[in-house]
């Protein structure tokens, strides 16, 4: 078969069907009405209430991220970019309940959870603190956000079908095992006698997504005209709104990770306010020093950097340590973004410079600032700093190699990159048949009687557009 067939829009339902059918068949084969197993403790109402809210907040972050990323790309790619976030709400959510949750949290070995909870087998209303079903939803939000973060590095040129297959596999094969290591009783619980502290996903979500994003960006290649033409954000107000929504959602992301409606949740909440606040102020100073002006894209970025940096330590350090963490994260991320923009690495929206560098900085500082008095299981210091560093290195190696393998496998089936002509006209119309800001002027209505005729017309139009380079 002609490989370019796979880049056509019509191939997507086929790919999706091929991916989903085995899952559905396996689900159908499950014994009916699995009795509730596992923890039988009755959930705590207050904790359950706060986690319900938090799970919603985490899922709202996907909308924030879509706006943040969407505003930063060129107008011809705004829909494709936003859909790369939204599609995770579908694909990753299903992968998570079919396999991911079990790989992360079912009893298993040091490296992997087991198959006990595949297709949510044994997951019911009971649970320690919260109902097990709510834990699935809350943690599923993290998997979805992590996968959506990856897209920022490859927007404006990666094939949508290749990306959807990639994140479906990545969230199950890379994200879920790493979640098991950090939170499911895996190797991060006992690394040479010490535990890696990752309160809300500094390594699992941010370092992991950022490394995968960077590797994927290098594999897909830089955008045409990268380094030759200016590729400016088309709607910065969207990016600012997105950053604001991300911050709002992050209160659930970090606050919910306390798994209680208590003082530690409140601490995580306050630290989630303070760290980005400090980053924002530090970033303003850096911006002023460099260009004489405080930039809007800079502030939006600073908010995200501060949020990322406080994530691993939000519930284990003092508020003043959170301020230091936020302020300290600004400089390395600012320098990394400046360096990246002048380099040949086209990580389009600086996923690595913001989430990778910010996540690593936060994970290391958590090692220094973790305080038993503020809820940490161990006191911070050089020994914990070394443990955190080891955790970061392991995450980077695992994430990079997993991404390489999955991307290589995907590229055997679907080209990772869109055709050059499609990239030139923007991906919205060739890949999705829609444009972000259509005014409808000069658009004629074509009466269509059948869906096959509609597909034929759409295909013809797409080929015509794609060829216009």
């Amino acid at each position: 078969m002609d490989r370019s067939m796979w880049t056509k829009t019509r191939s997507l339902p086929r790919v999706a069907a091929a991916l989903l059918l085995p899952f559905l068949a396996a689900a159908a084969a499950q014994p009916e009405a699995t009795p509730v197993q596992g923890p039988t403790a009755a959930p705590d109402p207050a904790t359950t209430g706060w986690l319900l809210v938090s799970a919603g907040l985490v899922l709202f972050m996907v909308t924030g991220l879509a706006l943040f990323y969407g505003g930063l790309v060129r107008r011809k790619n705004v829909l494709n970019t936003m859909m790369m976030s939204f599609v995770c709400l579908g694909i990753v959510a299903l992968g998570w309940v079919f396999f991911g949750y079990s790989i992360a949290y079912a009893p298993g070995s040091t490296f992997l959870g087991g198959p006990a909870h595949f297709f949510l087998s044994g997951i019911g209303l009971a649970g320690e603190g919260v109902p097990a079903v709510l834990d699935v939803a809350f943690q599923g939000g993290f998997a979805i956000v992590a996968a959506a973060l990856v897209s920022g590095a490859v927007v404006e040129r990666m094939s949508f079908s290749a990306y959807t297959i990639f994140i479906a596999l990545w969230s199950v094969l890379v994200y879920a095992p790493l979640a098991h290591w950090a939170w499911g009783g895996g190797i991060f619980d006992d690394l040479f006698g010490r535990s890696v502290i990752d309160f809300a996903g500094g390594t699992v979500v941010h370092v992991n997504a950022a490394v995968s994003a960077l590797v994927l960006a290098l594999l897909v290649g830089k955008r045409r005209d990268y380094g030759l033409r200016a590729m400016l954000p088309h709607q910065i107000p969207l990016a600012l709104i997105g950053a604001g929504i991300l911050w709002f959602g992050w209160f659930g992301f970090n606050g919910g990770s306390a798994y209680a409606a208590d003082g530690y949740a409140a601490l995580a909440f306050l630290n989630t306010l303070l760290a980005p606040a400090a980053t924002l102020v530090a970033w303003m100073l850096l911006d002023t020093f460099r260009t004489g002006k405080v930039t809007a894209v800079g502030l939006a970025t600073a908010i995200v950097v501060g949020l990322v940096a406080i994530t691993p330590g939000a519930g284990v350090m003092s508020p003043m340590a959170a301020v230091l963490t936020g302020a300290a994260a600004a400089l390395p991320c600012y320098l990394a973004i400046g360096w990246r923009a002048r380099s040949r690495v086209d990580d389009s929206l600086d996923v690595f410079a913001a989430h990778g560098v910010g996540g690593i900085t936060g994970a290391l500082l958590t090692g220094l600032f973790a305080s038993v008095a503020w809820g940490s299981p161990v006191e911070g210091g050089l020994a914990q700093l070394a443990t955190q560093a080891l955790g970061v290195v392991i995450s980077i190696v695992f994430s990079a190699s997993g991404t390489l393998l999955i991307a290589a496998a995907v590229s055997l089936v679907v080209p990772l990159r869109t055709e050059d002509g499609q990239e030139a006209v923007g991906l919205d119309i060739p890949l999705h048949g829609e444009e972000g800001y259509s005014d409808g002027e000069g658009a004629l209505l074509i009466p269509v009687v059948s869906s096959s005729k509609a597909a034929e017309i759409a295909g013809t139009a797409t080929r015509a557009l794609g060829g216009r380079a």
Binding site: R290, T291, T295, G298, R340, R342
Partner: protein
């Protein structure tokens, strides 16, 4: 008949329209345009990227006029669009060969004369 084409600063549009109105000039087409001006380029910064904006954003006014109005229009434009800084724009006056009003098929001077002037009892 002449076609007066003016390229002006965006922020001067209100002042220019007022001056033209006061000079009894109607029938104007305004178009946003971009071009090379004589002014210093503006520099913008987007996160790690610094960009020099080569093309300046301006407005273009197209005004078709009968001979008696040409001088008044040019004078109004020069006066109202001026700041004295580089980048104020230009006014071009070109001969106009033929004009038709689409609604009535009127030609030339009849087509250029504002309807209000003909219709008013004065």
């Amino acid at each position: 008949m002449k076609l007066v084409t003016a390229v002006i600063r965006k922020e001067k549009l209100d002042a220019v329209l007022k001056a033209l109105f006061e000079a009894d000039i109607e029938g104007i087409t305004v178009t946003p345009v971009r071009g090379h001006g004589g002014e210093a380029e503006t520099v913008q910064t987007y996160r790690g990227t610094t960009v020099k904006m080569e093309l300046a954003e301006k407005l273009r006014l197209d005004i078709a006029l009968t001979e008696p109005y040409v001088e008044r229009a040019v004078e109004a434009l020069l006066r109202s669009a001026r700041t004295g800084e580089v980048g104020d724009g230009k006014v071009f006056v070109t001969p106009l060969e033929k004009v038709y009003r689409i609604r009535t098929g009127e030609e030339d001077e009849a087509a250029v004369t504002p309807v209000a002037k003909v219709a008013s009892p004065a």
